[in-house]
Every structure is written in structure tokens, then in C-alpha cells.
Symmetry: C2
């Protein structure tokens, strides 16, 4: 991976996301500050990156419609809201993320809940404001379909569903003897939003059915590899590198791919998922080398 | 108000809302149950009622497009999510609503947070699935505009914004010496979703700019009257009638229209707002007597 190019592309995405952040008036200063804080704390911006690069992969001429950047901001707002709610005392009860105070730790629990609600709602508002300016019916249909995918992948049959199953399994202290349930949780909790990112890029670029299905499967595999790698990093990394406490899974007696298969076994599983992702990506006629490099980086990340 | 007619219309709305509730598979049983429970606990279904009756008021031929019922379900899902989150321990910490256990009291705090997130996301999904089936560009544009209004009125510049200001004022123990701030909170916390209900009905019916603005102002006034009446009911009603503990504002030392102006003063304010609502409604050329009766009932409710 060309680090300079990655940095440039990430910077451009940050500019885009920040430009769509909610603006404050006298009565909304604190909630807007909490939303801005949560988004600006940072992150790798993987989802908007995947979206833009998938659009570039499938687009005929590479000309981005204005709505694409709104979707890029929206998916990052949704990702951020999910982290805010995930960190709440009733959920994972985390005080730090990326080396910074979590939203509820900084602004109080009520504002943690409300900042999450605000960002989730604002994600849809951001896209819908853009849709209101589209006059071409084909473009409007594509945007409407892409927003439907976002709502599906972020909801009960996607991210929230995975989250619920995760909480349920944890609270009930069920030991996950077969990996099917863990797989369900990872596919929904993590892979769903990566799939949405690629699907939205593909839909806006006018990709055909086969291309759209393939890029979705690529991302399911990337998501699985990414999340199993998370299990491994929780054991082998350090708080300095990750920006959050390590060995939290072990402490919470959480079933993970590492607790089920050991570090080496988990490593093999990661390789299977990443090989499959690359195999399907390479089977596409259209190419985007940066996206390929990005995927290789994601499945083999250090933090 | 014709009670039988109101009951019939409410029953029809319940059928509609229930038909759009999320369906469960093996992995989503508990979250879907929590969402269903929260919606089915009941309520007056004011928002979908207002939406349908406003559509009837402005529609040329009265033929409802299929998307209208999806919006009716969606706004009730959003209203329900806001109650679930509002009842959480970090917010109002209420164990009962409408005589039944609140969602977090029944399913635990984590599922309270997640059921709210799920319903909010599902509200958008419900409408977007319907939009995906619209082939007429004019209808698609109207639906897209109506969904934008929903996101705006439910978000930072609407319901969530009002909620945040309410929490902030409470936690900081600021005494509200002028009524401007209280008015801001009520307009956003309560009136915003009533405005959205009427606006969506008007937009889908193709109402003109003046009609749309007028019906919005009607609902701002209805919302204010409704919420000030809430302050009064908290003092003069009983737990049996309301289905929730009374005198909670006094106990929490909360500034309300009653604490500022007394019961009589608050009553006068309610009358001003409701007179204004009816005056503007009556200034419209188009008429819907049921909507008029509904508004009169809302501003003078007993529970």
C-alpha cells in the first residue's frame, strides 16, 4: 500500500465528512458539539473509502455525483453513532476509544444516547437533502435504492441485529460451542456496514447485478477477516497501539475466534476469508488496484 | 367528537402499523419482540391520525398512495423509539408507561437502547422499501421530500434537539426564568413530530406552499397546547387515568408552564394556542371536520 496516497485519500474523506457535520445555533450548541467531537475523534474512515473506491471501480467515466459524498458522510455518521451507543455503560461501558474519552464519558450518559440518536437521524437527513436536489429520475432512483440498502444494513437485519445477538449471548452467558452464531454476529455487527459501503458505491455507479453481488460478497469476507483480526489484536497488541484497553475479551470471558480456535487457528481463518475476498475481487473484469491494496491492508491490519 | 368514528379510525391505524412491524427470524427474535412490544403497548396514534386526515384534507380525490401508510407506520416507530430512549435510566428513568413496563424495564437497558436504534432505523427502511416500488417520478419526488421532512423534524433541529435542551436544562438545574426556552423545548420535543405528520400528509397530497405552511403552523400551536396540557395533567390527574406516576414534574423540581404560571395561567395559555390553531385551520378553503374535532380533542385531552 502506498501510504502517501492512502493519507491523501483519507484527508479528502475527512474534509468531506467534516463539511457535512451538523452546524449549531444557540439552542443546539451542546448536542452539535457532542456529535462533532464523536466524529472528529477520528478513525480509519474505511467505509467512505470503500464506497468511493467501489464507485470508481464500476463507474463508466469516474464522475462522482454530488450525492456520493453525502452517502460517504452518512455511513461514517452511522458508524460513529454505533460506536457511541456501543460504549455506553449498559453496553460495553468503555471510557476510551482511539485514546480519547468516549462520548458518554465526556458529555454524560444522556448525551451519549442522544448524540447517537442525532447522528443516526442526521445520516438520513444528509442524504435526503441531497436527493431533494436531484432532477434526473434515474439518479433519484439510484439514490433511493442506495439509501434503502443503508437502512437495511444498519438495522435489525444488519448491524443492530448483530449487536443485539452479541449483547444477548453475552448477558445470557451462553458458551458459543459452534462457530455459526459467532459468524452471524460478525457478519452483521461488522461486515454489514462494509457491504453497505460497497453496495452504495456500486448502485450509484450503475453496476450490474453480478458485479453488485460479487462486491457484496467480497465485503462479507473482508468484514469477517477484519473482525477475527480484531479478536487476535485484542490478545497480541498493546493499549498504546490500539488506543483502547487490550485483553478486554478475556476479562469479559467473551467467546471469540481466538478463544475457540487459538491465535494460530484464528490466523488461518483470517487467511481463508481474505483469500476468498481477493479471489472474488480479481474475478471481476473491472479493476481498481487501490481498492485491492486497501482490502489487503484491512485484513492484515495492526490496529 | 364522534367516539365510534375515532375508534374505527384508530383501529384502522393500528392494523396498518402492526402490518409494518419488523418480522423475526431465529437470530432476531428477541429484538423484534422488544420492538413489537414497545409499539403494541399502545397510545393514541395521534401522529398517523393527523397524517392521514391532513392527506384527506388536501387530496384532490382522496385516493391514498401506498406510501402514505408506510409513512404512518414510520412516524409511529419514531415516536415509539423516542419514548423508549426517554424512559432509560440515564434519561427520565421511568419503569411504567401507559400502565405497562417500559421497554428497558422489561428487556434490560442494553435492549432498551438497541430497540430504540432498531425502530428509528426501521422507520426509514419502511418508507424506503415503499419508495423502491414507485415508478412515477412525481410521486417519488414527493415521497423523498416527505422523508426529508421526517428526518429534519425527528433530528437535531426537531425532536432530538428539544430533548437535548430539556436534558441539559434539567441536569444543569437552570431555572427557566423566561418562557422562551421552555417554548423552544416544547416546540421541538413535542410539536415537531406533529408538524411532520401534517407536513407529510400535505406533501403527499400535493398541497400548495400556503396550505403546507398553514397546516404546519396549526400543528405548532396544537403541539404547544398539547404539551402545556401535559404539565397541567401531571398536577391534576391521577396515575389510574394517565397510566404513569403523576406529580413527577414537581418531584423532579422541573420548570413547567404550571410552575411558572400556575394551573389557571397555564389553562389560559392552552386556550390561546388552541384558538390560534383553530383560527388558522378555519382560514383554509379546504375542510376536514374530523381533523378539526381531533385537534379540539387533543388540546383539551384528559389523558
Amino acid at each position: 500500500m502506498n501510504d502517501k496516497l492512502l493519507q491523501e485519500k483519507t484527508d479528502a474523506i475527512n474534509d468531506c465528512i467534516y463539511s457535512y457535520l451538523p452546524k449549531a445555533d444557540t439552542n443546539t450548541e451542546l448536542i452539535v458539539e457532542a456529535c462533532n467531537y464523536s466524529v472528529r475523534v477520528g478513525g480509519k474512515r474505511i467505509r467512505p473509502l470503500i464506497m468511493r473506491e467501489t464507485f470508481a471501480l464500476f463507474s463508466e467515466n469516474g464522475n462522482e455525483p454530488p450525492i456520493l459524498e453525502r452517502f460517504m458522510a452518512a455511513i461514517e455518521f452511522i458508524h460513529t453513532y454505533s460506536l457511541i451507543h456501543d460504549d455506553l455503560p449498559a453496553m460495553d461501558n468503555d471510557m476510551y476509544r482511539r485514546g480519547q474519552l468516549t462520548t458518554h464519558a465526556k458529555y454524560g450518559e444522556a448525551f451519549g444516547i442522544l448524540a447517537g440518536d442525532a447522528l443516526l437521524t442526521f445520516a438520513f437527513q444528509t442524504v435526503l437533502e441531497g436527493m431533494n436536489e436531484i432532477s434526473d429520475p434515474v439518479q433519484l432512483l439510484r439514490a433511493s435504492k442506495a439509501l434503502l440498502v443503508l437502512s437495511q444494513k444498519a438495522g435489525i437485519l444488519g448491524m443492530v441485529g448483530g449487536q443485539c445477538r452479541d449483547v444477548y449471548v453475552e448477558k445470557q452467558n451462553i458458551s458459543i460451542s459452534d462457530k455459526k452464531l459467532l459468524e452471524y454476529i460478525y457478519i452483521n455487527k461488522t461486515a454489514a456496514l462494509l457491504e453497505a459501503s460497497a453496495l452504495i458505491g456500486a448502485i450509484l455507479a450503475g453496476a450490474d447485478k453480478e458485479e453488485t453481488e460479487k462486491i457484496q460478497t467480497v465485503m462479507t469476507n473482508v468484514g469477517m477477516a477484519f473482525q477475527v483480526r480484531d479478536d487476535v489484536l485484542d490478545v497480541i497488541s498493546s493499549q498504546e497501539v490500539l488506543g483502547k484497553p487490550i485483553k478486554s475479551d478475556e476479562k469479559n470471558n467473551k467467546t471469540t475466534y481466538v478463544s475457540l480456535f487459538g491465535i494460530e487457528g484464528a490466523g488461518k481463518i483470517i487467511k481463508e476469508y481474505s483469500d476468498e475476498a481477493i479471489r472474488i475481487l480479481d474475478s471481476l473484469e473491472k479493476k481498481n488496484n487501490f481498492l485491492r491494496e486497501l482490502i489487503l491492508m484491512l485484513v492484515d491490519r495492526e490496529k
